[in-house]
């Protein structure tokens, strides 16, 4: 019966099914019992309301990292301003079209690919620091800890060097 399967409450999750019809104080249950279900016979189903379990913190963290990547890569800028994926310039001598990766001239402008690659570098740097912390976890084998440490340090170094390179290309007068 629909009201019977309804009685699995939302707060605790696992079902404590209602006992007999007469002891229920639910008015809607009584109403439904009288009106359609006095002459209709509902089939016997083995359905359960899906219980809602909270995801673990690390799952949420992974999703958040994905959103962080999108925001920092300038995804909203891409959607609204709709820049090309990669810019192009014409070589004045030969006349061939050459691609331009970084939009130059303004601080607040980008092409799609340059945004995505910079966003990836930022997330890589963050993950590097996380791996450094995982390397200090006492419960793992030494080789695992060592590889985490090496991976973490190399990620941070690569991410920092690449980000500095990108910003130097984009803003020619950087740090002068």
């Amino acid at each position: 019966m629909a009201p019977r399967s309804d009685s699995q409450n939302l707060a605790t999750g696992s079902g404590v099914s209602d006992g007999s019809d007469q002891s229920s104080i639910d008015p809607i249950f009584h109403l439904l019992r009288i009106l359609p279900f006095s002459f209709l016979r509902p089939p016997r189903l083995r359905l359960k309301i899906p219980s809602f379990t909270l995801p673990s913190p690390m799952t949420v963290y992974a999703l958040i990292l994905l959103t962080y990547f999108l925001v920092v890569a300038g995804f909203v800028y891409d959607v609204i301003v709709e820049p090309p994926g990669i810019g192009s310039t014409q070589d004045p001598v030969t006349g061939t079209i050459r691609p331009v990766v970084f939009m130059s001239g303004r601080v607040n402008g980008q092409y799609i690919i340059e945004g995505l690659s910079s966003g990836f570098m930022f997330v890589l740097g963050g993950i590097g620091i996380v791996m450094l912390d995982l390397a200090l976890d006492k419960n793992k084998a030494k080789s695992v800890k060592a590889s985490y440490a090496v991976a973490g340090v190399s990620s941070v170094v690569i991410a920092y060097v690449m980000s500095m390179l990108f910003i130097r290309i984009k803003i020619p007068g950087y740090l002068h």
Partner: protein, 739 residues
């Protein structure tokens, strides 16, 4: 103090026995008396660090005062300065009831009811306090230095906030990071006398007091957070962020099962008292019960009452089965009643829908299609990756790492800072201006990452002593001996690695400091009203044309003259030129602005009719063709056409474009070559040679030679052009007498 009394006793014993080494003994004991216990050393270190950070935050923002002079920057701060001047001269009641007839002629503006008074009242209080102490400073100096002063206070609040969320180490790092972060400096340099200068301090204070209230459950802290919220409401329109973030946080806590009496006390007190206090500001009025943006807070408030009621019923009832059914009924009926109330309120119009400004944050494409005024402001554009990098530097790496540490150690406080960081970073991605709101959260979370990483590394350095102690105790069996050997082998490697990584961390932080100082010096310290450029020999050339033009207006026009210009310059003209303007930066009346836009983009005859109807005496335009200044009125012209065309369909944007392209040279459309803005900007420009090797009439900002050089004005005459042709003022001639 224990450290001091012991040497005193030994000193008396020493002097009792010998007399000759008196001097050496006393100096030796004075050094010994300075030796503090570890706790006192730590306190001294913390206080000195905070003191240095306080001073650093202040002096990092003084570049423009040292380079130019102590003046107000930009456009909006001039209005704030004018109102603060009025407040200090006439008193609070005149200020609160002020109707200004000098702007938005002929409509006027109710200033008392359409501004956020927090900034002006704060500056006036500081001014009166200084005068009370007999420091007779000018109010302009107080206004210029208000923002750095409050930035220093923000670092202190950041320290306490970091201490609340994580520990004192994180608090200190947060204070240092926020003191020099370019995202915050950009809107709080000396001279940037704008609402955000005070609002970020109020925002962080409110959040800190609220988190403290949730952690302790104390009514006093909740009361403090309500007053902090009142200060924020009085200071900035961005208070809507607080009134939506705090209920969202409460909702997340309820979902994750962290409902507690502390949360109940904190939220109820803050919401009710905060709402009542916010209604004292006339500009906000009854929005807390009438506006759609504030309904989330009310909904969560009612949900909290339902939770409390259910908790109480559960406590009274001993029957779990009965309670489950009761829970079901109550939750469904509460949601039903809430939904019906919201529906009735929205349908009847009592609850107003979300305003365009905030709706465009949720749906970023809305402003581009529907509200050109919001879309035209350069600060409202979405953010590219380079703006993030410019304003945050290595904090962009530390932010995800800090989030990881917060998720590892979830508590009520860390959940709050995570939510604040994520929501504010999303909004910062939608609008460049909101990077400012995200900065405190990013600094705090990055501080957690730095503090946790440094703690891990230094604990690695310290384990050597512990292992050597366990190694020294006698261990039976060969396995312990072999493990001791392997540990000893890895010890120096680990220690060296930890030292290398610590050096790396300090290197990164030092690069951050260098970046921040460079960005502050080069990008964020320009007053915008005074332009600077590098001359041919690398020397700095200053263009002070704006102030030259405004002072000319002040001294050479009749006092009741009305000036028509584009709305960007309205505040500056009223504050420095002391003349009535038609439209200004408040942009509250779109039709009035569209009328001005229509006048600027029409032929001279139609524009003259519009100007006569508005009683305009002078027209002011900004022109960058001689200096290469690119933020002039010709570059803004298409926005005038769009805004004017939005209200008056007679103005059509394609009339001014050629093949979709905006041109001012010979190939430009005839409507463009003869409209009022073109004529006023390029009058007599055709005779001027601007660059060596280029024909006369070469526009340096657009990089082309202009199309129409022979311009004749029929109804206007040139009144003044500044020395670098940046600001040009024209007088509107009275109509010719009929003969």
């Amino acid at each position: 103090m224990g450290g001091k009394t012991e040497p005193a006793k030994s000193e008396s014993m020493a002097t009792a026995t010998t007399r000759s080494p008196d001097l050496i003994n006393s100096s030796f004991f004075s050094f010994k008396s300075l030796k503090l216990k570890t706790k006192q050393q730590e306190l001294l270190l913390r206080i000195s660090i905070l003191g240095l950070v306080y001073i650093l935050a202040f002096i990092a923002r003084l570049f423009s005062v040292l380079r130019y002079e102590s003046m107000i920057h930009e456009f909006d701060p001039y209005f704030n300065y004018r109102t603060t001047l009025f407040l200090t001269e006439k008193g609070f009641y005149e200020f609160w009831n002020w109707f200004d007839s000098e702007s938005w002629y002929p409509l006027g503006r109710i200033i008392g009811g359409t501004l956020y008074p927090g900034l002006m009242v704060t500056a006036a209080l500081i001014y009166w306090a200084l005068r009370f102490l007999r420091f007779f400073v000018h109010i302009r100096e107080v206004c210029v230095l208000t923002a750095p002063f409050f930035a220093s206070n923000t670092t202190l609040v950041a320290y306490f906030f970091g201490k609340e969320i994580w520990d004192t180490g994180a608090g200190l790092v947060a204070a240092v990071l926020i003191a020099i972060c370019p995202g915050y400096i950009s809107r709080s340099v000396a001279g940037s006398y704008d609402n955000e200068a005070v609002a970020i301090f109020a925002l962080l204070l409110t959040f800190y007091l609220f988190v403290k209230a949730v952690n302790t459950g104390s009514l006093a802290w909740a009361l403090g957070s309500a007053f902090g919220y009142f200060y924020m409401v009085s200071a900035w329109g961005g208070y809507v962020f607080i009134i939506n973030l705090v209920p969202l946080y409460v909702l997340v806590l309820l979902i994750t099962g962290r409902y507690s009496m502390r949360l109940y006390i904190a939220y109820n007190c803050m919401y009710i008292l905060g709402m009542l206090l916010a209604m004292q500001i006339r500009f906000v009025g009854f929005q807390h019960v009438q506006s759609g943006e504030h309904m989330g807070a009310m909904g969560v408030f009612l949900l909290m009452q339902v939770f409390y009621f259910l908790d109480w019923v559960k406590y009274q009832l001993n029957d779990t089965k009965l309670f489950q059914t009761f829970l079901r009924i109550t939750v469904t009926s509460a949601i039903l009643v809430g939904g019906i109330a919201l529906g009735v309120g929205t349908a009847s119009g009592y609850i107003s829908p979300w305003t365009g400004r905030f709706y465009s944050l949720l749906d970023p494409t809305y402003a581009k299609d529907h509200i050109p005024i919001i879309a035209s402001v350069s600060e409202h554009q979405p953010t590219a990756w380079s703006s993030f990098m410019f304003d945050y530097h290595i904090l962009l790496f530390l932010f995800p790492a800090g989030l990881y540490f917060c998720f590892k150690r979830l508590s009520d406080a860390t959940i709050f800072i995570v939510m604040y960081g994520l929501t504010s970073l999303y909004f910062a991605g939608v609008m460049v201006r909101l990077i400012l709101v995200a900065t405190p959260a990013v600094c705090l979370i990055s501080a957690i990452a730095v503090s946790a990483t440094v703690k891990n590394l230094t604990s690695l350095l310290r384990t050597k002593q512990k292992v050597s102690q366990t190694g020294s105790t006698k261990g039976a069996g060969s396995s312990k001996a072999s493990s001791k050997v392997t540990l000893d082998q890895s010890q120096p490697f680990q220690k060296n690695g930890a030292i290398a990584l610590l050096v790396g961390v300090f290197y990164l932080l030092s690069r951050y400091a260098i970046h921040c100082t460079w960005v502050t010096s080069e990008a964020y310290s320009s007053p915008s009203i005074v332009l600077a450029a590098r001359g041919a020999h690398g020397n700095r050339i200053i263009f002070d044309d704006y102030r030259e033009a405004y002072y000319w207006l002040r001294q050479n026009t009749p006092t009741d003259a009305k000036i028509m210009s584009w709305w960007d310059y309205g505040y500056q003209i009223t504050a420095m030129g002391n003349r009535t303007v038609i439209v200004d930066n408040n942009t509250w009346n779109n039709t009035h602005i569209a009328t001005v836009g229509r006048a600027m983009s029409s032929y001279e005859d139609e524009a003259y009719d519009i100007m006569r109807s508005l009683d305009v005496n002078y027209v002011l335009v900004v022109f960058g063709g001689v200096t290469g200044y690119s933020s002039d009125d010709i570059n803004k012209f298409l926005w005038m056409v769009r805004i004017g065309g939005g209200v008056f369909p007679v103005i059509k944007e394609p009339d001014y474009l050629v093949n979709g392209e905006f041109r001012v040279d010979k190939g430009a459309s005839p409507k463009m070559l003869n409209c009022l803005m073109y004529k006023l900007c390029y009058y007599r420009f055709g005779e001027l040679t601007t660059e060596y090797g280029k024909p006369p009439g070469y526009d340096r900002a657009r990089g082309v030679e202009i199309g129409n050089k022979d311009i004749k004005l029929e109804h206007l005459e040139e009144a003044y052009t500044t020395s670098n042709w940046i600001v040009r003022i024209y007088r509107v001639k009275p109509p010719t007498n009929r003969l």
